[in-house]
């Protein structure tokens, strides 16, 4: 009696359709620690492979564009802090330049240099956080501590400059709120020394780390064509091989005076995105050193900005003209000529764009904010499927987004 039946392995492959289980729908977020904010991913899984990814956003929607249409240009400055709240100084600068273009203001070199300093410090602050939490997403805790230590020093510098650690609101349309404090540039220089050491340390901890490499190398590669098609900018575009950097290609605020390199990746995977940010940190330090060395003297606000700035308090209390001007600026806002302008600045997360339409008067008719994080997230449905569920933390961290700017 023969009861054995020969089963060839080929049979199993042929039966793959019938062996297939049901797909599972999994909800990730809106407050999952790896989503870096209130982002919800509605996932469809086949086993632990992602078949479909549908990001659900809007949990942090404040209606910034609606709010902007109902207040004066000066009043909107603090709202820009809360876009990319990891680099508020850079947002302040982008908004100020957009409105200045509309108003036709020309800024003195000292003000531009101060702004470059602000932008690059914001970039360092944002990238330090981005890399620190990325390391944590992929299972390394120490790096986060190292980078946060440096950020703490940065925040102390911000505090001395702007009076606030987090929501800086430092720029004004036509200038900045106040001049650099005495001896502050020396402290920035000292910070540069320290942060370079930390960057080297992080480099040694992560770049050759086996676990980190396995979780990032070859994961979710984005080709250059795809990055351009989805409108990616900033480090995410450059990791994919695009070379476009607004600081080099459309210089603003005097960036053309400074020497720096633009790091570009080759494969566009998570590891390349990490490498690009690491190198950008070093380049930012390089820019900082040049600005500190060549900081020009003179005025830190544009001459014409006196029609936009609030007059000094002492004069408001004693002089008639200043009192009237103060009253007009607060109630009606600075008079900006009619027209439209679109300006993008190279922010840590990518190009932050402001499209401002003015009908004349002190309130924008339409103010559109183009958040780079919004654009970075829109590529998720295209790159996440095909990866494992565990890779999602790695992919999200590598895109380095912030929901305040995505949902506005």
């Amino acid at each position: 009696m023969k009861i054995t039946k020969e089963i060839s392995l080929g049979d199993v492959a042929a039966r793959s359709e019938e062996l297939r289980g049901e797909n599972m729908t999994l909800n990730m977020g809106p407050s999952h620690p790896a989503t870096h904010g209130v982002l919800r991913l509605s996932l469809e899984l086949d086993g632990d492979k992602v078949v479909k990814c549908d990001p659900v956003i809007g949990y942090l929607h404040r209606g910034d564009e609606k709010i902007a249409e109902n207040m004066t240009y000066n009043q909107f400055v603090p709202y820009t802090d809360r876009l990319d709240y990891l680099a508020p100084l850079a947002n302040n600068v982008a908004y100020a330049i957009a409105v200045e273009k509309l108003a036709g203001l020309k800024l003195p070199p000292r003000c531009e240099a101060i702004r470059v300093l602000c932008c690059e410090m914001a970039r360092i602050s944002s990238h330090l956080l981005g890399i620190g939490v990325y390391a944590m997403d992929t299972g390394a805790w120490t790096v986060f501590m190292y980078t946060f230590n440096e950020r703490e020093k940065l925040y102390s510098l911000f505090e001395e400059l702007t009076g606030a650690r987090f929501t800086t609101s430092y720029t004004r349309i036509g200038g900045v709120t106040r001049d650099l404090p005495e001896g502050w540039l020396k402290k920035v220089d000292a910070f540069c020394d320290g942060v370079l050491k930390t960057i080297d340390e992080v480099d040694k901890l992560l770049t050759r780390n086996g676990i980190f490499l396995e979780r990032t190398e070859g994961i979710a590669p984005i080709s250059k064509e795809m990055a351009l098609a989805y409108g990616l900018t900033g480090p995410n575009l450059r990791a994919s091989g695009g070379t476009f950097d607004l600081r080099k290609d459309k210089p603003y605020s005097g960036y053309e005076q400074y020497e720096f390199d633009v790091p570009v990746g080759t494969k566009g995977d998570c590891f390349d995105r990490y490498l690009v940010r690491m190198e950008e940190l070093r380049q930012s330090v390089r820019i900082l050193r040049q600005v500190v060395k060549t900081m020009p003297g003179g005025a830190w606000y544009a001459e014409d900005a006196k029609k936009i700035f609030l007059p000094p308090k002492a004069k408001v209390m004693t002089k008639m003209e200043e009192l009237i001007q103060n009253f007009m600026l607060v109630t009606e806002g600075p008079q900006i000529p009619a027209g439209e302008v679109y300006f993008e600045a190279e922010n840590p997360k990518g190009a932050l764009g402001f499209y401002v339409v003015s009908n004349g008067g002190g309130v924008p008719y339409r103010l559109r904010i183009r958040g780079p994080s919004f654009v970075s997230l829109s590529i998720l449905p295209a790159i996440v499927p095909g990866n494992f569920l565990t890779d999602i933390a790695s992919i999200l961290g590598s895109l380095d987004f912030v929901m305040g700017e995505c949902d506005r």
Binding site: I57, G58, H61, G63, E65, K66, I67, N70, M71, K101, L228, A229, Y230, G231, L232, T233, G242, T243, F244, D249, K250, G339, E340, V341, Y342, F343, E344, A351, G353, Y355, V357, R366, R368, R370, F374, V375, L377, S378, I379, A382, D407, R408
Partner: protein
């Protein structure tokens, strides 16, 4: 950028003589052709931004504004499109990145993008009844029905209150409550102190 070819190939196009970048008004029917021409022949390979707007000086109430960037030529171009009967063709087939921007313009203004692959709201929830960036929508917001029936059953609250009603900078829709002083509350002042 070659403005002459764009104008001759799409005769309905108007040159608006933009101050910060070349600006054109393109007819809705020409939009896909113009964007394809700019992308394939003029190197405008990146859709920097697409947004809706409500105009007061145009024959159509809504319009769409596109900003295209040429990464090689390092220049921008701006396209204005009027939304005739609130409809504009979708450019998501040419620039996949337009997908979310168009969803947002629909969400905020109610502009319908013809041929859009996924026409849903994006920032507000799916059952939200209004388009909040329209000029007739109040800054304070409007009450809306709660999307979750089970929550409404437990809390006894069937509506989501207007988010900023009674807050600062907002003109109140009705009478403010007594316990809520605000800059716009005229019911009490130095002469008539609050009880």
């Amino acid at each position: 950028m070659d403005a002459a070819t764009l104008l001759s190939r799409f005769p309905a196009t108007q040159d608006l003589a933009g101050k910060d970048m070349p600006t054109f008004r393109v007819a809705g029917a020409d939009l896909l052709g113009a964007v394809r021409f700019l992308r394939d022949e003029q190197g405008f390979d990146l859709l920097a931004d697409l947004c809706g707007a409500e105009w007061q000086d145009r024959p159509t109430r809504f319009g769409v504004v596109l900003h295209l960037l040429s990464t090689a030529g390092k220049e921008y171009v701006r396209l204005h499109v009027d939304a005739v009967a609130d409809r504009v063709p979708s450019v998501a087939s040419l620039h996949p990145g337009a997908n979310w921007h168009e969803r947002e313009a629909f969400d905020m203004f109610g502009i319908v993008f013809e041929g859009h692959p996924d026409p849903r709201r994006i920032l507000m929830w799916d059952s939200y009844p209004y388009h909040p960036l329209r000029k007739d929508f109040p800054l304070a917001g409007l009450e809306v029905p709660l999307p979750a029936a089970d929550v409404a059953e437990v809390t006894g609250q069937a509506v989501e209150p207007a988010p900023m009603m009674g807050g600062p900078f907002v003109s109140p829709g009705g009478k403010l409550s007594e316990g809520e002083p605000s800059a716009l509350d005229q019911s009490w002042n130095e002469q008539h102190p609050k009880a």
